[in-house]
């Protein structure tokens, strides 16, 4: 069976606003960097297929697919769009190569939330029109309800959530791609405005603009394109029910099922021992704890304690979100998953600069599609082909 590697990454970096460039120019910049990183590959002839990950409402176009080819070098080539999170896009690219018909695939995702004047109205538009929308309110109250039930059921604490903010914004200070690095402590978090009890304002990741392109290759060509390929050991994805009335509020079941699917493929039996570090969705502070537990990196109710003991810091035994997560880097809409994945690739290559972890061989990237969804995806990566 052929193996699949990541041989190139390109990123524009993330910023709160980018009035100076269009989304097309942003995508071109990320793509150019990725092709350069993958042995200066020429997309006009050396990339077999292209996948973009985009959602029409975030873009403001119907059938956004059609606005994509030019800036990726995909004109007159083989391209389609995945409407979902970008790790679901990664799973699609991975499967394309597994078919044997494609040796190289370029995967693109970007977010330009500063182009959207009514971002939260678009989130509201994802709520059920019969049961939920008529009640009004800001849709992030869903996160408040989930945080409340999660903390109550698992015994993780309010203050431990605050520690996530301090850790991630701190990590982001040594990440040049990050938009929101800062020195904050637990006290600062607890003094932040209450927005969706028990969730405080500073615990909600802020939107950021930026684009990422990833180049995948089969083992046939991977080492020719990059002498340090990062191997995709497994991918998984899953959805729980969208129903807010009947879903599980204490656990991220979608992430658990996605992780089990990816671990099985990767041959990982004991994630808490075998996984060296992880990049997980932290759109809201508590989500990092909930996702750590869903990924079986610790037992239920233990994630907060590990955070409190410093185990998840850069120099800890199990670093979580060394990039700074979305609390530190910013929330780039559907590109959130590739933002997580990129950090795993950089860490496994030993190219993470000041925040480089030592002796890492297996890293996990996990994504969630955000409010009000219960859909997530997981990728397990390694610098050993194995």
């Amino acid at each position: 069976m052929r193996e699949v590697a990541i041989v190139g990454v390109g990123c524009t970096g993330f910023k709160s606003v980018t009035p100076e460039i269009s989304y097309k120019e942003m995508m071109f910049e990320a793509a150019t960097r990725a092709y350069q990183d993958a042995g200066n590959i020429n997309p006009r002839k050396d990339i077999d297929a292209f996948i973009s990950v985009a959602e029409d409402y975030w873009e403001g176009f119907s059938i956004f697919d059609e606005f994509v080819p030019d800036q990726l070098g995909a004109v007159l080539r083989h391209l389609f769009t995945v409407s979902g999170d970008s790790i679901i896009g990664l799973a699609t690219a991975y499967m394309l190569i597994k078919t044997g018909y494609f040796n190289t695939v370029a995967l693109e995702s970007h977010g330009k939330p500063s182009d959207i004047l009514t971002l939260h109205d678009i989130v509201s538009f994802a709520m059920d029109p019969i049961l939920n929308r008529p009640l009004g309110g800001h849709p992030f109250y869903v996160a408040g309800m989930e945080m409340n039930r999660f903390l109550c059921t698992t015994g993780n604490t309010r203050d431990q959530c605050a520690m996530i903010v301090a850790k991630n914004k701190g990590n982001a200070l040594s990440n040049a791609f990050a938009a929101y690095g800062a020195n904050v402590d637990v006290e600062d978090v607890l003094n932040s405005d209450m927005q969706f009890y028990p969730l405080k304002k500073i615990e909600i990741s802020k939107p950021a603009d930026g684009g990422i392109v990833i180049i995948l290759a089969s083992d046939k060509v991977a080492t020719k394109l990059n002498e340090n390929p990062v191997w995709i050991k497994g991918v998984g994805w899953a959805s729980e029910t969208p129903s807010l009335e009947t879903r599980c509020w204490s656990k991220a079941i979608y992430a658990r099922l996605a992780a089990e699917m990816a671990y099985k493929k990767a041959g990982i039996m004991t994630p808490s021992v075998e996984v060296d570090f992880a990049e997980v969705d932290d759109l809201f502070s508590y989500k990092e704890l909930q996702h750590m537990e869903a990924l079986k990196l610790c037992r239920s109710g233990e994630a907060g304690k590990l955070t409190e003991e410093g185990i998840t810091q850069l120099d800890g035994y199990l670093p979580i979100n060394p990039s700074g997560g979305m609390l530190g880097m910013g929330w780039p809409l559907e590109a959130a998953g590739l933002q997580r994945l990129q950090e795993v690739v950089l860490q496994l290559r030993g190219q993470a600069g000041n925040r480089q972890l030592s002796d890492v061989e297996i890293g996990v990237a996990q994504s969630w599609r955000g409010i009000p969804t219960a859909t997530g995806a997981v990728a397990v990566l390694s610098n050993y082909k194995g």
Partner: protein
């Protein structure tokens, strides 16, 4: 199949039944608004229109002058080498006569739309715009020479409609 059935059981629904609430429905008008950054290439294009100029961009590798301008050449996948004005005259590549307005209603005076290959741009490149000052649309011909009719400088706002339409050159 349905032709053979003379009478369907039950009561048939009319549009009125839905409008008047006899069928349960849900109504919601989303509040979706965007303000797209025009970016490097399109900003130059829009600023050009305001000054009565049509801006293209050039790629040395494939030797093309591209209109509308872009920051990168999609054929060669490299940044463009510069920006240059093309003429506001050109030839009709293709056209249509639209008897239907944007809201799908029938209109008396048809809208004449055309793709115009602009002089000074590479072959097959130019602008999609309206045709005007044409009494009988049947006089429109492929390859016909046309010229832009601009709004007055003080009326221009840096949009594609700063050109009112293209008219036959004759």
């Amino acid at each position: 199949m349905s032709e053979k059935i003379k009478h369907f059981p039950g009561e048939s629904l009319k549009g009125r039944d839905i409008r008047e609430g006899r069928v349960p429905t849900i109504k919601h008008r989303p509040n979706v608004k965007y303000l797209w950054s025009a970016g490097v290439a399109m900003s130059r294009f829009l600023e050009g229109l305001k000054k009565g100029k049509i801006v293209g961009s050039s790629c040395k590798k494939c030797q093309r002058i591209m209109v509308p301008p872009r920051a990168f050449c999609e054929e060669c996948f490299r940044p463009v080498d510069g920006y240059t004005n093309v003429k506001d005259t050109g030839t009709i590549n293709t056209y249509s006569v639209s008897y239907v307005a944007g809201d799908a209603s029938r209109i008396k005076e048809p809208i004449l739309v055309a793709v115009i290959d602009l002089d000074g741009a590479s072959k097959g490149m130019g602008i999609l715009h309206l045709l005007g000052e044409i009494d009988d649309w049947k006089t429109i011909k492929f390859g016909m020479k046309v010229k832009a009719v601009w709004k007055l400088p003080e009326e221009r706002t840096g949009t594609i409609t700063d050109i009112k339409y293209f008219k036959p050159m004759e």
